[in-house]
Amino acid sequence: MNSFDRRRDFLKTAGLAAGGAALVLPALASPEDMRAALTKITGGADVRRGRVKLQLPPLVENGNSVEFSVTVDSPMTETDYVKAIHVFTEKNPQPYVINAYLGPRAGRARITSRTRLADTQTVHAVAELSNGTFWTDSVSVVVTLSACIGDLI
């Protein structure tokens, strides 16, 4: 149940991309649905860890309403900006949370919204930059109520 282990697996299997940031292969951390959803967005391109900061509380009681923010380190100029921010979950009934489309007029690459989380899981954010690269961050959220009743199903 410890998704920190899965994050380490993430990074262990990564090679090194040009530019120094570790390559991330999402295969090990996500179930099939989430992987397929991610591939649809990226077209199979590499997704690198970094530049993206996903903020979520580390503990929530029941996951009914969890506020999240995604901030991307980008100058947001006409030639260097964030095109889109995508947020995914691993264990909700379906993997997508939101696809947000920005552009240089945003000034700052940051979005905030609220999601439901069905269970303790890792949430992933992927940013698509104007230069065609993809960057990611992920955060584990523990739903404390899920310990209350154990494994029922």
């Binding site: 410890n2 009681e61 029941n62 996951g63 523990v142 404390t144 209350c148 009743i149 154990g150």
Partner: protein, 730 residues
Amino acid sequence: METINMNRRSFLVTSAAAGGGLVLGLQIPFGMTTAQAAETVPEINAWVVIKADDSVVIRVARSEMGQGTITGLAQLVVEELECDWSKVSTEYPTPGENLKRNRVWQSFSTGGSRGIRTSHDYVRRGGAAARMMLLQAAADQWKVPVNQLSVSRGVITHGASGRKVTYGKVAAAAAKLTPPDAKAIKLKDPKKWKVAGKPMKRFGTVDKVTGRQVYGADLKLPGMVNATIMECPVFGGKLKAFDAAKVSGMKGVKQVLRVGDTAVAVVADTWWHAKKALDGLPVDWDYGDNVKVSSASIADVLKAGLDAPQAFVGNKTGDVQSALKGAAKTVDAVYSYPYQNHAPMEPMNATARYTPDKCEVWVPTQDGESSFAAVLAASGLPADKCEVYKIDLGGGFGRRGAFQDYVKQAVLIAKQMPGTPVKLLWTREEDMRQGRYHPVMQCKLTGSLDSANNLTGLHMRLSGQSILASVRPAVVEKAGGKDPLTFQGVAQSGEHSIGYSFPNLLIDHAMRNPHVPPGFWRGVNINQNAIFIECFMDELAHAAGQDPLEFRRKFMADHPRNLGVLNAVAKGIGWTKPAPKGRYRGLAQMKAFDSFVAAACEISVDSTGNKVKIHRIVAATDPGYAVNPAQIERQIAGSFVYGLSALFMQECTVKDGRIEQDNFHTYNSMRIAQMPRVESIIMPTGGKVWGGIGEPTICVAAPAVLNAYFKATGKRIRTVPLKNHGIELV
């Protein structure tokens, strides 16, 4: 009562342990941390701190609420650690520390009878790892192979040379070593236990008996103010307005505050002044539609569900409809079980202090991490600016784990008075009115017998409230709308699977969710399911002209552990021998929380049928493993106090959308003179799975007594509590 000096903090600094780091010990007068400020106190690993004087502090993540889990967990650690038990004390890590250290202590959740059974493996490994590191440190110091060393009660001996050293002397060096791979550690065989498995005295008993124990309700902090609160008594209603001016001038009153959409609080110098002002405060509620709901209207809805065409199936074998159609004789009965409140001796409370830089909460909680999550949400601050300090509970029973409403309230009040610690303590009335109630349930059971009086089929239709639909809807969603927890004790498989094999069986649930908020009452759904199935088994036995024990045994060939505890209580009560004149017996069995439990009682009833005396009650528990047999005995007895009080005296009724019972005069509990002596048989049979202790036994006392009552009077009671039939426990 003791005061915390919030500036007097003790820091436990590790000597750069591999898995460690800075350990924060807040010195609080709850009999826990005994840190010394100037000393370097090595943390061997997250679970074990050893001081130079050889005293040992065991970190425990679960909460102590009178169930003795803290002592049991310490026993498991110490068994592997091999230190001196007389030098052991325990300490609660905080949820903030747990987060900072990647949740090294894992779950803090104390409920579902899980405290020992879900953590025994890793806490034992924690103790074993610490022992291995301490031995290695001694071996390194003496430059001998570690396998030449032995240890007993914290004293390490090198047999060949006779050298000895105590844990305290090598702790600093041990803390620097690389911990062994936890998964590779070989744990002791429970058959060889010397500390675990023994009736060690519980920590904290003396303090509780002498009044030294500080509960959340007793807490005093410098500059603290006191608050009490009232939430809309009709669930789902809202706060419209209140006339603060009418009470602001009353003695000691500091603030009259709106708390969220549904509650109003008074803050004063003393709790009594706050309560008096709240009592006198004119409040305008918007009750909403639920004001029309009553126990009678709820019962009507549930009754209709007993025959409704749709129900969620929880357990199914064969074709019960055919069996019923082809029956020579059918037996049917309708049972019901009411709303009940946890009613712990200590009312809900939490103390909060908020500034934009830090929000701290002191609270008796069954899950420190749930409390922490509530603090995060209510304060709006990030995790590194929040903290929760756990206090031993004056009763939890399931009210203080999944529900952190009082924490949220305390933070919302404290946010309106930044910098001031606010102790929010509910009145007893508020505690009774704002419960999370044992769900209301009715049950229609139909059994079919063939011409030889063999049971051919059983249909158990439950109609009533789902806890999870309200508390954990994601689980219900995932199960296609069904609440699997409703079938505890009669489930198809798992930790609550039914203890019988019937040729044709259908157990289904027509879900009907009234507006009253449900919660996890000790035992959860086994309380009503044990009455439903175990009383109906007696009804079937009676219709078939068979002895209730013999009748049951026919369906238990595949349930040897159920049979084991049932046979044990039957033997204990002397089932096959005639009872003393005027005494009558009943029995019941169930599997719950992976433990197997049974009870047999012997009662007498006066000639009016209204006065019941329980002369004897024999209980058997097979939890797989017994960590502290003395504590298990107490838990069994305590569960009977709770369960028999509920059976005879406890029901929460609904009128005008709200709960009527608001104090112990209308929601009574038994007194010591009424409580029978409990004869416990603890019979752990080992195996792969560890069973729980806190809850399982609670469910078998009531059906055993109800079954005995029928034997005594010929009257079958199918609705509880018994006071509604004019029956009292003497």
